[in-house]
Subunit: 323 residues, 2 copies
């Protein structure tokens, strides 16, 4: 939970006056999101979300993120639609930070995702991949396989503070990924951070997909791999094969996975686990214990990575391994 | 900023179904409030505030707090109105905690209060005191002068960790208050925690008074003394006599202060500073550094207490001292 910047009435009034959304009624910081400051902004025309982009988001990337949301919303994806000011600009400034107002989406994110949620998630993810196909902008994935060794080196031997031997183990694991990471998979816009708190449901259907601030151009199957990790493990870190199966079948109802995508999924999931392990490890070692943000346990993703390292084929994810 | 309890969709749906407010559209934790968990609850009929009462609020006091809000709202005070369930009950349970839904109030609290804000505040505070006059319930102020020595003793010699000699200094200061604390002042329902973040403004007028969870029966002038401390010092802790004057004149436009209330105001303000100094001191010494709640500096109130200790009469607050 995080609100890093206080927005005063005097700051907010002239900012909102640049839009055609009526006068400010209220503005309350939301205890969600980690990277940016988010506010529920209520005006005479209804509720909106106001986001102030804090330092972890590169301002040069914001046109990609806002353009993508606009593109996807225009194609019927339930994602926030950036509101343009009277001058046509959606990306503005408030309290010395880049800022944007987007539409409010109904729904709640599932605190305890079920297999039904996973099925709906799969279909929505595939729809997102298809809807993004004709988006004209590109953004390389700066958290993909090439970035992992430099990221590990930033934590360095301090990784062993979390678990003795971890630095060496991760380095060896990285060698496998660096040599075997698959190329030539179907590529396009991916969300790259589709955790349960970024997906709203209403009446059992996906009513909102939010937080596009890691979106980039990468393999579609890697996005699915991120979801396998974020949605299909139980709180005790056991893998729920039913959820995985429903996720994959839900996805394939909308977009078929190629034989190569299915074959490489275990390695992609292992890599996706490495990616979150490494950023969490870095944050764990570098976040002051008294910070407002709760640190996330990197070892959760260590367990997930080991699970996928032991997977031989997509039979482990509930699909038929010999199609 | 604080949300202590996660509320899931499955918990929330049956809870909201007990009210006549339509279906849940969304529910987001608000990064405001320190004692309880607050959510912006949006249903088909509009926005509401959902509060889960955490352990610092005594559940036996909740009927007083909710009854008071209802009483004041019925008399036109802009305070949250508790929403009753279909069975007539406003105080319910959610996630194993007492919980209530109240109406949403427009407006924003002033991050940088001005003298105009102080004037409006004064009038609203007096209106609150008058509107509470015929409220039938009582709640003694468990944070008044009798409680301060036990509170100081709970911090004990550890007070000196904050500032060498502080324990002895506070003990001496307490002796003055214990011997001179005024009786026989006009008494009634007071808010007792009317800090800027509990007062919303819109178009320069008070549009909302919230957070009645310290409300109690005590001297009206003590409530004003709390406001003097919370609204009339600048960030550098200098006292702004214009703000104080406007606060007191605004108050007296609605309710005249007696000669005794005016005469005892410096001591009441000194005591009000002691009260917040002591609770902050206790929290400072007992809140883990990594808690989600930001600890507030007790020494801010030490400076305010010393200011009032040097005040001879209400001339220091901008009023004519020899009426």
């Amino acid at each position: 939970m995080a609100v890093y910047t206080d927005v005063s009435d005097e700051d907010l009034r002239p900012f909102v006056a640049e839009y055609d959304i009526g006068e400010v009624m209220a503005c309350k910081g939301i205890a969600e999101g980690v990277e940016n400051s988010n506010f529920m902004l209520t005006t005479e025309t209804g509720p909106y979300i106001l986001t102030l982009y804090e330092k972890r988001v590169k301002s040069g990337d914001l046109p990609f993120f806002l353009g993508l949301m606009e593109h996807l919303a225009a194609r019927g994806l339930p994602c926030p639609l950036p509101v343009h000011g009277r001058d046509g600009e959606a990306l503005r400034r408030l309290c010395d930070r880049p800022a944007a107002v987007v539409t409010f989406l109904p729904g709640m994110w599932p605190k305890r995702p079920t297999a039904d949620h996973c099925s709906e998630l799969g279909s929505s993810l595939a729809a997102l991949h298809l809807a993004g196909a004709d988006f004209s902008m590109d953004r390389s994935n700066d958290l993909s396989v090439e970035s992992w060794r430099p990221l590990l080196e930033q934590s360095g031997s301090r990784a062993d503070e979390v678990r003795p031997g971890l630095a060496d183990e991760l380095s060896a694991e990285l060698r496998v990924m660096e040599s075997d990471w698959p190329g030539a998979l179907p590529v396009g816009v991916i969300h790259a951070d589709l955790f349960p708190d970024n997906v709203f449901f209403r009446h059992g259907r996906v009513s909102g997909v939010i937080d596009f601030y890691f979106a980039c151009t990468d393999a579609f199957a890697y996005d699915l791999a991120i979801c396998l990790n974020a949605w299909c493990f139980e709180p005790d870190l056991s893998f729920n094969v039913t959820k995985a199966r429903r996720l994959l079948i839900g996805y394939q109802k909308v977009r078929a996975l190629s034989a190569k995508e299915l074959k490489t999924l275990p390695l992609l999931a292992r890599g996706a686990a490495m990616r979150f392990l490494l950023t969490r490890l870095f944050d764990w070692l570098n976040t002051p214990a008294d910070a407002l943000v709760t640190r996330k346990d990197p070892m959760e993703y260590h367990a997930k990575m080991r699970f996928h390292a032991g997977v031989r084929d997509i039979g482990a994810y509930g699909l038929d391994a010999t199609p």
